[in-house]
């Protein structure tokens, strides 16, 4: 029942695009952690492209190296082999055109800075003039619905609001790629629905490309225009799935569509397969 992709990828690989459509390329990415107890191969071989203004979700069983992959793309971890290319330039450290939203908002926001100061800090560091900074901060806070609390400390706000601050900080930085590492795993269900819609509207309005890591299957299908399913560790791509739901999504209506249920089913099955140790690369070889 997998839907037809435009260009069906080779098993174990994700979709690759023509250079002019591509914003971010991951090629043969491999990451091995060297520990005292021996090497641990977290990510074996990942290849895929992200197109401009795409919202791609990355799902996989726990321990499938989702965070490792994200950190490699963000330039926070150095891959063992393979490469990441952003806009034609190879990523060797955190690129200027990228912003990361971490799961642990409470630790990612600086508790000694007020909300507006947190949003402003990356701009201040980059030497953006003061007036321009104020403008960007106000816009970013406005777009996440937090214009009323610029002088609060982040820890005075609820979890969902704190994550909004972190998102505002990322937006104000004006990235081309927004990486989100299970950003809503620690907020309650209702807040989460609001934040999901916020992410979709941000992508639409600002034209950013979003890579969204989650362990929540519903969330991945609801949010993404594409879902990349990772295998169990050592990680390869199990499936690269186009989400052919209407572009206008609505928490109630979209989730009630039969197609939503089908896609959700499919992703669920794939992850169950991955958990049982099915590997597309082995299936290919043997």
């Amino acid at each position: 029942m997998p839907p037809e992709n435009n260009a069906p990828p080779i098993t174990g690989r994700g979709r690759t695009l023509a250079p002019e459509q591509t914003l971010l390329s991951v090629r043969g990415l491999k990451k091995v952690y060297e520990t005292d107890g021996g090497d641990i191969e977290a990510v074996r071989d990942l290849t895929f492209d992200l197109g401009r203004n795409e919202l791609t979700c990355l799902v996989g069983p726990s321990g499938s190296g989702k965070t490792t992959l994200l950190k490699c793309i963000a330039g926070l971890l150095e891959p063992t082999s393979g490469e990441i290319v952003l806009d034609g330039k190879r990523v060797t450290g955190p690129p200027k055109k990228m912003a990361v939203v971490f799961q642990e908002y409470g630790r990612s926001l600086f508790p000694w800075l007020r909300v507006a100061e947190n949003v402003e800090l990356p701009l201040k560091n980059a030497g953006v003039p003061k007036a321009k900074r104020a403008e960007l901060v106000a816009e970013a806070l406005e777009s996440v619905g937090l214009s009323h609390v610029p002088r609060s400390y982040p820890w005075q706000l609820s979890g969902g609001m704190q994550q909004r601050v972190a998102i505002a900080r990322a937006i104000a930085y004006q990235p081309e790629v927004l990486l989100m590492d299970e950003p809503f795993a620690a907020v309650d269900a209702q807040t989460r629905a609001d934040l999901e819609d916020l992410v979709r509207s941000i992508r639409e309005r600002l034209g950013v490309t979003v890579l969204f890591v989650t362990h929540d299957i519903d969330e991945s299908v609801y949010l993404g225009s594409r879902v990349i399913i990772l295998s169990s560790s050592p990680t390869v791509i199990q499936e690269d799935l186009i989400i052919d739901l209407p572009d206008q999504r609505d928490q109630l209506e979209t989730r009630a569509l039969p197609r939503f249920t089908e896609l959700r089913h499919h992703v669920y099955e794939q992850i169950q397969l991955a958990k049982r140790g099915f590997r597309p690369d082995e299936a290919r070889l043997g």
Binding site: F102, F110, P111, A126, Y173
Partner: protein, 258 residues
């Protein structure tokens, strides 16, 4: 209003009670070594708030201020360097432990021989003795920098001096200030002791002079003054700390309440 009165009563209650007990206990005393509250206060103003304030008290306070300020600045700087550099940390740690374990007053005779008996020796004694709590706490505070905060800094291109300024120093501030809190009394102790060894002015010098000449009340007055100075210094510190660490205490209160 009522609450303010109650708070004041709580704060002043014990000091008043203690003075009352002291007054009662010394009512019938005849020994010249036992001070009485009334005469002591009179003597205190006469001895310490006159010329002596400028010839002894202020110079002592100046040496304390310069020595402790040096200890704080150097301690935080060295602590920052050591805390950020693992190799340097392994290299210096045993030596630091040794110096910290050495009682600072033993430095006085040594430094007195090496540097003479002037102000620079006393300032050095204070700085060298008071630096350790600041330095070691700063190392710990810097080392404890949160991994997610650090990744956030890196992903937004905040590195080098900017990272120290925007992330490391503020996040280590509670620990650095805990070190400063410990350093202040050490500074006062060393200020007094360094003057007791070789000096011709200062609080420590005067107190020893009075003791040797059986000027018991002025001596007690000096002790009272030292107590008051220590009290004022810690009060001032608390004010500054509350200001710098407002976020930290707010966060703590919130965590304790939930």
């Amino acid at each position: 209003m009522r609450r303010v009165l109650v708070a004041t009563a709580y704060t002043l209650g014990l000091p008043i009670l203690l003075i009352l007990i002291w007054w009662l206990a010394s009512l019938g005393a005849t020994s010249i070594f036992v001070p009485k509250p009334g005469p002591l206060v009179a003597e205190f103003f006469e001895t310490w708030m006159g010329d002596r304030f400028f010839t002894d008290v202020l110079p002592s306070l100046a040496r304390f201020a310069v020595g402790t300020a040096l200890a704080i600045v150097l301690g935080a700087l060295i602590g920052l360097l050591v805390g950020l550099n693992r190799g340097l940390r392994d290299f210096t740690e045993p030596v630091f432990e040794f110096f910290r374990a050495t009682p600072p007053p033993v430095l006085i005779p040594v430094l007195g021989l090496l540097m003479g008996v002037g102000d620079d020796m006393k300032v050095t004694v204070i700085a060298v003795g008071a630096i350790w709590p600041v330095l070691l706490n700063t190392v710990e505070g810097v080392r404890a920098a949160d991994a997610v905060q650090t990744e956030t800094s890196r992903s937004y291109g905040i590195h080098g001096l900017n990272r120290v300024r925007y992330q490391i120093l503020p996040s280590a501030a509670p620990q650095i200030l805990a070190g400063v809190r410990q350093a202040l009394p050490v500074g006062i102790i060393l200020m007094v002791i360094s003057e007791m060894f070789f000096s011709s002015s200062g609080l420590g010098f005067s107190i020893i002079q009075f003791q040797r000449s059986f000027a018991v009340l002025p001596m007690w007055g000096g002790i009272l003054l030292l107590g008051l100075i220590g009290f004022a210094v810690s009060l001032l510190f608390k004010l500054v700390e509350r200001r710098i660490l407002r976020w930290y205490y707010g966060l703590k209160d919130l965590q304790n309440a939930s």
